[in-house]
Subunit: 457 residues, 2 copies
């Protein structure tokens, strides 16, 4: 008797689940796998879109790790692109999908369902669809639309990016690299609010030094068009002329279908899942990726952190379990890295404001150091900030900003944080030392020492 | 009543101890600190010598982090350079020092003694002092002697480096960068024996590709001279012409004085110390740096790993304790990184042979990946090897070889190892992901996944 696994969403989480399940159940007459994807592509790097738009990555197809044909031919996974699932019927255990290309509707029964619909960009009321030259950057199709617009006459000269999260900042850089005059508009006091304001200042300085205009504390209220094209972004402090507008206002879990079907939604807005990525109380239904919520291992709270690395891990865990193995996703600690012009930024764990909210008392330190031995050519400045709990000395969060070899140093702090290390324990960590790669006290260790001193005061 | 702290050895360990003690006991009438150093310099980066010899670091003084004058003026530490301590009298609690410059002998009583004499280069019987053009690379004075020789007429053209440890490999590169024809001679089957042979092969390939001759399985038996200058290195497979010879044969703990005074020596040949860096059974006597042995946290065995980063940490711990604080040095896990031509090498924990010796059963995996998202410019290949204990799945050791952003990734594995993580736990680690810095599955995570699979087999 053939079982059928249906996957809704053909990107990282869904296709990881599908391929992991297939790895363990290779016979398609034992397990049939069908994946519905509403777009044109499967398993691509959405995080790579800004680098494609900037021209750093020349070809769209470089962002695609596996095509529908690869899944069909190499994995016996039946991927149906341009199919939008419109309903999940849990009683009849079937999904209804609309064929966006050919028209018509498909009904397909399932034994196992993986819900991996990803996230939906925030759409403020002023972001009307009909204004030409206004784009999100969520999918490869979005990226193609931006590139097409940039190449069309009259060529856009002035860009406004609304929203200063990772995507906004990366798109601002991408457009700057393409020679546009770029303004980044952020409602809050700083862009890159995933780091504390003192570290965020360094990021803003770097953006401005690269020629990107950064305007904060500004609310967008409308768009102004001329001849059917975008002409300006209207804010509470006046209009900003624009020939192209990119929206980077964040995303929310895409749970429309899930809510309609009665799947449980958690306090963060994402679908609730257990450690094995099962949807609790709904046998045979799994969820993974940007549509679910995760446990934050430091605060203990459920969070929604849409990121390809989590989506891949969660999809893998779901797929192993569906395939009869055992794997768990033990949560996240909020690690993220990004490049802002030539500046490297890394963060993990709680920011000061998160730590306050979670009820921690803590000390914070900032240590200035260099990426390499001070005398070694190419040594560049680096700032490491640590947040450590009072009394226990346990690391709660860390942020790094620097000019080279800085971002991925956050991983050292992430693993320390993951394991509940105290800053005192961290001062003894046996990290690699050689003049081309680190000072004899690695910047991470210098910060840990400073935190130990701060805890004594 | 003024207490007196005497430090033997004015480099990393000794001066870290001195300055940490001073930080906590600032009044020199409360604690007088005297440091004897037989060379001309204090607190310098011996690890930087190859880069000074190569010309990458232009000036000797860049390698000096604090001069004797700085210690005197800023730390109230009385550093006496060119003073060789010749005896420790534990009964009378005094040391005897010879003034190498002015002549004469000094006797100085102590309440606290810090033994930080470092390590001594191995001197095989054939390495006779009187042959001009043969050098160790242990001290700044050694580095100056090499540079002086390279500049003298007739200019050396052919270099032989004997010994393929870190210093040997780094010196081979340094001499190659200065335009010499370089042969590295190693008695064992591979240079860089701190990594397993399969990873070491990659290192040898890179050296040869850079134009460095690598000859292994070759025993040096003598030196041949002509007109008082080195002419060849004689081996059991014939002579190798040489105008300059650099010895990189490893070091042993410098314990001459300690043994004479009856300080306990451990099985690794280093001085025994407790967690606070006290010499057990000898009240008031401390030891730190390249002369002591350390606990290897994975094998549980005492080891001698001479390295600036440990020396600094151990000196700091001793100094904090001497100053009335509390700190411990919990051991090492053998993390090391180095640059071999353009190749980056990192290692931590046990090699296969160490794991066998320590009695572990284990699986090993090697995972090929890239430093950045495959589509991001500058992505370069990287090989990550993991050794994981059978049944428990605990990480025992790791090695990384790669062409960029590879070496310091070992730190992630070092912190995982330090915390006793299993490879299964590691697959869930929340590491930084962005296309310029990592594939969506970081090379470290890919290797962990592969190890999980290997453990199932």
């Amino acid at each position: 008797m053939t079982e059928r696994m249906i996957v809704i969403g053909g990107d990282a989480a869904g296709m990881s689940a599908a391929s992991q399940a297939r790895r363990r159940r290779r016979d398609p007459t034992d397990l049939e796998i069908v994946a519905f994807e509403q777009g044109h592509f499967t398993s691509y790097s959405a995080c790579g879109i800004p680098y494609w738009v900037s021209g750093v990555v020349p070809e769209r197809d470089e962002l695609i790790s596996r095509s529908p044909a690869t899944f069909r031919d190499d994995f016996d996974i039946d991927v149906r692109i341009r199919h939008e699932v419109t309903a999940i019927d849990l009683d009849r255990r079937e999904v209804v999908a609309r064929d966006l290309a050919g028209g018509g509707e498909v009904r397909a029964g399932f034994d196992t369902l993986v819900y991996a619909t990803g996230a939906t960009p925030a759409q403020p009321s002023w972001a009307r669809d009909e204004v030409a030259g206004v784009f999100g950057v969520q999918t490869l199709d979005d990226g193609a639309a931006v590139l097409d617009w940039l190449d069309r006459e009259p060529r856009p000269r002035r860009a406004v990016v609304v929203g200063g999260g990772y995507v906004g900042v990366e798109m601002a850089e991408a457009l700057m690299l393409r020679g546009l005059d770029v303004q980044l508009v952020e409602q809050a006091d700083q862009p890159m609010s995933t780091v504390d304001p003192d570290m965020g200042e360094l990021v803003v300085d770097a953006m401005r030094a690269s020629g990107i205009g950064v305007r904060t504390g500004l609310t967008v209220t409308d768009l102004r068009e001329r001849d059917g094209r975008i002409a300006a972004v209207v804010t509470d402090q006046g209009p900003i002329p624009a020939d192209v507008v990119v929206l980077g206002l964040g995303v929310r879990p895409n749970t429309t279908l899930a809510e309609a079907a009665g799947l449980p939604i958690g306090p963060s807005g994402g679908i609730r899942v257990d450690r094995r990525m099962r949807v609790p109380g709904v046998p045979g239904v799994w969820a993974a990726g940007d549509c679910v919520e995760s446990l934050h291992r430091v605060s203990g709270l459920p969070v929604h952190i849409p990121l390809g690395t989590h989506a891949n891990k969660q999809g893998r865990v779901a797929g192993i379990n569906i395939g009869g193995g055992y794997a768990t996703f033990p949560g996240v600690i909020g690690t993220a890295v990004t490049k802002v012009c030539d500046l490297e930024v890394g963060r993990t764990g709680l920011r000061e404001r998160d730590a306050v909210e979670a009820g921690f008392e803590f000390v914070t330190v900032r240590a200035e150091s260099t990426s390499r031995a001070g005398y070694y050519p190419g040594a560049r400045p680096m700032t490491v900030k640590l947040i450590a709990e009072r009394v226990s000395g346990r690391l709660l969060g860390a942020q790094i900003v620097g000019w080279s070899e800085a971002a991925k140093r956050i991983d050292v702090l992430a693993v320390a944080l993951w394991n509940g290390m105290t800053v005192d324990e961290m001062t003894a960590l046996d990290l690699g030392y050689a003049p081309p790669y680190a000072p004899v006290w690695d910047p991470v260790l210098i910060a840990a020492r400073k935190a130990v001193d701060a805890l004594r005061e």
